[in-house]
């Protein structure tokens, strides 16, 4: 069987080439082979299927591929090859829910119909009796599939095409999402909270996080049953002086919600904007009260930032990303090399990297207020659950090394995004709604920013790039409760409904995405761990720097730069107008116009002062935002593209050496431990095993730069990818030296 990644391209010829004519196939069809089914998941139902579908290899121009059966179930579109797959060794990195030829329904990004030479975007509505000769599916995880229907029976072809289009593109109700039938039929062991991801669905989690950061705010438990407001989380934390009446006044809008406390005492809060322009000044005075409450948290200081004004909107984000992702749907080798010429300017023009840069920049400004000026910060935004989530979680990642551990990161996502009420259902369009106004990859944008940090400061993160990539894929696997709801209240009400209709089964037990064993076995999960990460050294008396403050993350700047003396009663002086207050204390010291994301000179100073210090991976991290420092998340975006795979190369070749050595060191450590314990009991010790032999076996999997998403199945006897179309931008004339053997004649000088 061919995998998507390693098939195709003129360089690696597929192992199977079909020369069978349609007639032969049809005659063969008379003795129908037993319909092939994938190993269906619990609760999975096949809607329709068609046999003798030809799955084409990557190169659009070739008609090579594999025959098999194409199915559509309530979970996925699946292709099952007719070929024996015995030769295939179990892939190292196998997803238990779906294989390399499966596309979860919500992972489908766009469907195109191929009609002779043309291709047309299928929008769902126009499907009548026509069906294309080819279905081209672009996936949200950037895979591209092409299925030729020309060899199928007409009936089958029609049915499968309509089935796929219907189930992938037509709006559906939440209850029809696969998670519900899957969970109903599966008993998940209580998620082992071995290292415990904090879910922030209990008062304890909030209390613990508040305590961990030594914050002095008020934990509100009165909303456990959404009695105060459905817009607020079940549990949340507000400044001490906020009263219960304040919380309900505007259904939670304008209420400063605590995110994180700095060791100095100042804290980060977020809020959604109040409805604007009301004649009475109730909202104004309410907002002033709330600001005062925030200011009271520490030394009467507050800085506010309206992210709706200074960052791209969710629609901007969506627009930019939809341009950006197109660069990675490569249909043919020719396409690839043609687009290679203008690669950098294309990237630049879609603005995606710039949006990433702006978010990191804004987060860095928030960090500066907290870390350097020790001001309370209130970030706000119209809904309070998109860019607020991005910025607050990025700021916390930079400031607090706990969130850079695997469990800490997951807890952060739970706190800021899941409990924080990010509208996952709408933003990810899990229901395939036609109205796409609310669709926007905000969470992906956050992961992109995290990847930038990871890429710049690898050893600071316990999780790996692969972890982030898999997490970004999991958004579109409709099994996890994490991404299915718009808020905690939404979740609670849906689950309550579901429970009442299935009264016999107690509460629906949907796994969260953090229950990685649902998707991956232990071995595959090891790839989530970043081998460069070293735990914070335990405080050892012999260690250097005994004078270090108890908070490792503290940035000690030259005292001269600490020039913001707290102003007592700052607010009382100018309570005249809310607008004035806001303007005076905005974080943004310059108005950010969309095309000039120039960092302000002071935040540049902040970065430079930090950068001059020796780098502490367990301390404060600030991203470098200079042009060359913000990059493309190669693993996520380029993993399926044959032409860019570096065989036997890529960073993975180095990382795998580190992780093998790490295993070896850990094994030795265990042996030493055993030694010391057996010394007392005086038992026969097991001999130390020769370690290298074991680790070598892992290296025998040939690595490529797309590891672990594609691995090489044959060895290095491959042909190099030779660029074509080189002339277009650099030369004004001349013919290109093509490399196809057949074409060389024409290239010899005329």
């Amino acid at each position: 069987m061919l995998s998507l990644g390693s098939g195709g391209g003129k360089s690696a010829k597929p192992s199977f080439v079909s020369y069978v004519t349609p007639e032969e196939i049809n005659s063969e069809k008379d003795t129908p082979k037993e319909e092939k089914h994938p190993d269906l998941l619990p609760g999975e139902v096949v809607f329709c299927s068609a046999s003798t579908v030809l799955k084409l290899t990557q190169d659009e121009l070739s008609q090579r591929g594999t025959f098999g059966t194409l199915l559509c179930t309530n979970f996925r579109v699946s292709f099952i090859s007719d070929e024996e797959t015995g030769e295939e060794t179990a892939p190292l990195f196998k997803n238990k829910l779906y294989g390399e030829n499966d596309i979860p329904l919500s992972c489908v990004d766009n469907i195109y119909g191929g009609y002779e030479d043309k291709r047309k975007l299928v929008t769902g509505s126009q499907v009548k009796n026509k069906y294309p000769s080819k279905i081209i599916i672009h996936c949200k995880d950037l895979r591209v599939f092409q299925f030729a229907l020309t060899f199928c029976k007409e009936e089958d072809a029609k049915r499968i095409f309509q089935g796929i289009v219907h189930h992938c593109l037509e709006p559906k109700s939440l209850k029809n999402i696969f998670a519900f039938s899957f969970c109903e039929n599966t008993a998940f062991p209580e998620m082992q909270m071995q290292q415990r991801t904090m879910m922030f669905d209990s008062a304890e989690d909030w209390a613990q996080d508040l305590k961990r950061t030594k914050g002095s705010c008020r934990l509100v438990t009165e909303n456990a049953n959404f009695g105060l407001s459905p817009n607020l989380p079940q549990y949340f934390i507000v400044p001490e002086s906020v009263s219960e009446a304040d919380m309900t006044l505007f259904q939670g809008k304008g209420l400063p919600i605590w995110c994180w406390s700095h060791h100095s005492g100042c804290a980060l809060f977020k809020t959604s904007n109040l409805p604007l322009q009301q004649e009475d000044n109730v909202p104004q005075s309410y907002m002033e009260k709330m600001l005062t409450a925030v200011a009271h948290n520490y030394l009467y200081s507050v800085k506010t930032e309206d992210l709706s004004d200074t960052l791209p909107t969710v629609q901007d984000i969506q627009l930019s990303y939809s341009k950006f992702k197109q660069f990675f749907f490569i249909d043919s080798t020719t396409d690839f090399w043609v687009s290679d010429m203008k690669w950098f300017s294309s990237l630049d023009n879609c603005g995606w990297l710039d949006i990433i840069r702006q978010c990191l920049q804004k987060a860095m400004e928030v960090v500066e207020c907290l870390e350097k000026e020790n001001n309370n910060v209130l970030i706000m935004e119209d809904g309070g659950s998109d860019l607020c989530c991005v910025i607050s979680s990025l700021a916390q990642l930079m400031l607090d090394s706990y969130y850079r551990t695997l469990q800490g990161f997951q807890s952060l996502v739970q706190k800021e995004w899941v409990a924080g009420g990010h509208n996952f259902l709408d933003r990810c369009n899990q229901l395939h709604l036609k109205d796409k106004e609310n669709v926007s990859p905000v969470f992906l944008l956050f992961l992109e920013c995290v990847w930038q940090l990871l890429q710049q400061y690898g050893p600071a993160f316990q999780f790996s790039e692969t972890y982030l990539t898999v997490l970004s894929d999991s958004i579109h696997v409709p099994v996890f409760s994490t991404f299915l709801f718009n808020s905690q209240h939404h979740r609670a009400s849906i689950l309550r409904q579901a429970d009442s209709s299935h009264s016999q089964r107690g509460t629906l037990n949907c796994p969260t995405v953090w229950d990685w064993s649902v998707q991956f076995d232990c071995k595959a999960q090891q790839l989530f761990i970043n081998p460069l990460y070293a735990e914070k050294p335990k405080l050892d008396k012999s260690m250097r720097r005994p004078h270090r403050p108890k908070h490792q993350r503290q940035l000690s700047l030259p005292s001269a730069t600490f020039k913001t003396p707290p102003k007592k009663g700052f607010f009382k002086d100018e309570t005249d107008s809310l607008k004035k207050i806001l303007r005076v204390k905005r974080i943004s010291r310059w108005m950010l116009s969309p095309d000039s994301p120039q960092p302000s000179s002071t935040s540049r100073e902040f970065y430079e002062a930090w950068q001059r210090k020796p780098l502490d991976y367990h301390g404060l991290l600030l991203p470098c935002l200079d042009g060359p420092a913000v990059r493309i998340w190669m693993q996520r975006y380029l993993r399926w593209i044959q032409e860019v795979q570096i065989f036997g190369g890529g960073l993975v070749t180095v990382l795998s050496k580190v992780s093998d050595l790490l295993d070896e060191v850990q094994e030795l450590q265990r042996q030493l431990d055993r030694h010391s314990s057996s010394l007392t009991s005086n038992h026969q010790r097991p001999r130390p095993r020769p370690i290298s032999a074991e680790t070598d076996s892992r290296l025998s999997v040939l690595l490529s730069s797309s590891f672990p998403f594609t691995t090489l199945k044959n060895n290095w006897s491959y042909k190099p990818a030779i660029p074509t179309g080189l002339l277009q931008s650099l030369m004004n004339s001349g013919n290109l030296a093509d490399t196809e053997d057949d074409d060389q004649e024409s290239l010899v000088r005329a």
Partner: protein, 623 residues
């Protein structure tokens, strides 16, 4: 071989002596003039303590000056000029320091006049060859810059003043003589030459056949010396097709040469045609592939000046143009790159700006040309590579293809051999391209062809981080000394000129430095894999700007001595050694009988030596 600590100590001593001597000069000659406080004096001591002068390096002048740092603004300090370098240290606590070999200076200009208004408007503007500019301001009164300008002009451009390059003044001594790294015969023997198809010819032993070629050449066995002479008349500057590399198994070769002298009238030369057919015949290749590195149009244009390309008359040959541009295009491209990275990195639309320099696009073309050469050869097809003269693009293509094909060249010493062979001995015109000691900064012969090649190598090491024995530091060191004129390695245009100037007798080789402290140039992740052909991906998706070279002067770009991955690996290696030792000790104290068995297993599990500490343990292990 190992370096000798005693010798190093001796070197230290020499420089220490120089320092003491200089210190005395300073104390008694200069100090009395500046009657300053003691703190100032101690500062001066600090200033000089940082400079450890090379043996043979001599102080020429020092002066109070203001360095207009593009990153930190105007900095007061002291500049210190020797016959080798310009050294500056700021006197405030910003501790900004410059240590610039005079060889990197491309141009010195006066900035402002005695009557110029504005702060720091009177001084010197120095353009460097290594992607930076330096600007100094001086006091406006008393022609304060006259002496320093003249001294800089003289010592930065010694060749223009009839002086010796510093390489001839240096007294550096190293344990190993780097001039021995490349012995043409040894290298041919390593490749399995001569054999029954290829012979070694000494026809050029006194540079009579071709004055820009090395003395020892590998040519088809069947070609007589007379043939070679006839072919030389038809190849630009007599640079006939000769073998650069032969594939051990399939006997396919990479041959290099210059363009044929076809001219406007379309001249033919039967001897040349027959000679190329002999190259083809040697391994029974059905069609000899001739890679002409130039764009087609350029090759045509060359006919006007008597050059050209192989036409249809060449039987059994096929010509492919690789569309790599000439030295002028490359020079302009790097200039544009400098504009967007120095002093500040272009902020808005960085990627578009980068694209508009075309630098990476040229890199892509060179790499993909080399990939095509390597691909053909590894599938058994002999190739001939040429451009116009066969010393710029040809050297890039053959050496990169050889780096892809032959893992020997990916070792620290093998890489030195590759440079010595394909670049130095085959007459890449280093002197003209770099302009060592030459004041003529606008010379049209200047071009960063070698820098571009090293960039290509860097791109390969980036894509295959375990395939090269050497690390990025070696590449940076090579590029630094490409300009520094401290070593003889990159001086002069060709072997005949080097012989004439006795470079190998009178100067030190860069490889003496490198091989005497080679552990700092080693890549700890190196995994030798002989026989594997490395094909980098020549796509813009993978090519990146070599930030740690082109933008290294920018303090915002974090310069890491060691990549975090490397650092982590070395920490883990040290930890493993520590644990192994502990385990061994425990075993030893437990049951002495089992000790021997264990220690042998632990030794076999050690990989190739990669850290200094490990080197030591290996060195101490008796054989």
């Amino acid at each position: 071989s190992t370096w000798n600590p005693v010798l190093l100590f001796h070197l230290r001593l020499t420089s220490f002596h120089t320092f003491v001597y200089l210190f005395y000069i300073l104390m008694f000659v200069i100090m009395p003039l500046h009657n300053n406080k003691t703190s100032r004096e101690s500062l001066k001591m600090d200033l000089l303590a940082d400079v450890s002068l090379l043996p043979g390096e001599e102080r020429v002048i020092d002066k109070d000056i203001i360095y207009i740092c593009p990153f930190s603004g105007a900095l007061k300090g002291k500049v210190f000029i020797t016959n080798y370098r310009l050294y500056f240290k700021s006197s405030d606590d910003s501790a900004v320091m410059l240590n610039v070999p005079l060889g990197v200076i491309c141009r010195v200009e006066k900035m402002g006049g005695a009557s110029s208004r504005g702060e720091n408007s009177y001084g010197l503007d120095i353009t460097c060859k290594d992607m930076r500019n330096l600007r100094f301001a001086l006091k406006q009164e008393g022609h304060s810059r006259r002496d320093i300008f003249e001294i800089l002009f003289r010592y930065a451009f010694p060749v223009s003043h009839g002086l010796s390059l510093f390489a001839y003044l240096s007294q550096e001594k190293y344990e190993e003589n780097g001039w021995n790294i490349y012995k043409p015969m040894e290298e041919f023997r390593r490749q399995g030459l001569p054999n029954d198809k290829w012979r070694i010819s000494f026809i050029n032993k006194s540079y009579e056949l071709c004055d820009t070629y090395p003395t020892v050449l590998a040519v088809p066995y069947k070609a007589t010396e007379e043939d070679l002479r006839k072919v030389a008349t038809f190849r630009s500057r007599g640079r006939i097709p000769v073998l650069s590399w032969i594939h051990r198994e399939n006997q396919a070769v990479i041959a290099r040469c210059s363009q044929p002298l076809v001219g406007m009238s379309g001249k033919r030369n039967k001897d040349d045609e027959r000679y190329l057919d002999l190259v083809r015949e040697a391994n029974g290749t059905s069609k000899l592939i001739i890679y002409d590195a130039r764009p087609n149009v350029n090759a045509v244009a060359n006919k006007a000046t008597g050059g050209g390309y192989e036409g249809d008359e060449y039987q059994n040959a096929e010509l492919i143009f690789l569309d790599i541009h000439n030295i002028h295009v490359m020079r302009e491209s790097l200039k544009k790159l400098k504009d967007i990275v120095y002093p500040n990195v272009e902020e808005s639309h960085w990627l578009s700006s980068l694209e508009s320099t075309h630098w990476l696009e040229h890199i892509k073309l060179v790499l993909s040309g080399a990939i095509q050469v390597a691909d053909k050869v590894s599938s058994g097809n002999s190739v001939v590579v040429h451009c116009s003269d066969g010393w710029d693009r040809t050297a890039q293509l053959t050496s990169l293809a050889m780096l892809m094909l032959d893992s020997h060249y990916r070792t620290l010493r093998g890489f030195q051999v590759l440079l010595e062979k394909e670049w130095i001995s085959f007459g890449h015109k280093f002197a003209s391209r770099i302009g060592h000691g030459d004041k003529n900064h606008a010379d049209q012969d200047r071009s960063p062809i070698f820098v571009q090649f090293i960039d290509c190598v860097w791109q390969m090491t980036k894509q295959f981080p375990t395939a090269f024995e050497f690390n990025e530091r070696l590449l940076l060191t090579i590029l630094d000394h490409l300009y520094s004129c401290r070593f003889g390695t990159f001086l002069y245009n060709c072997e005949s000129a080097r012989d004439q100037h006795e470079v190998r007798l009178k100067t030190v080789s860069l490889w003496s430095l490198v091989n005497s402290s080679n552990d700092i140039y080693l890549n700890p992740f190196y995994t030798p894999e002989s026989g594997r052909v490395l094909y980098p991906v020549a796509s813009m998706r993978h090519l990146e700007l070599w930030v740690s070279y082109y933008i290294r002067w920018n303090p915002r770009i974090r310069q890491q001595q060691q990549s975090p991955v490397e650092q982590r690996y070395k920490e883990l290696l040290a930890l493993r050694d520590e644990y192994l030792k502990k385990l061994e000790e425990l075993e030893l104290s437990d049951s002495p009988s089992s000790h021997l068995a264990h220690s042998s297993t632990s030794n076999t599990s050690l990989p190739a030596p990669s850290t200094p500490s490990q080197q030591y343990t290996h060195l101490q292990t008796p054989f």
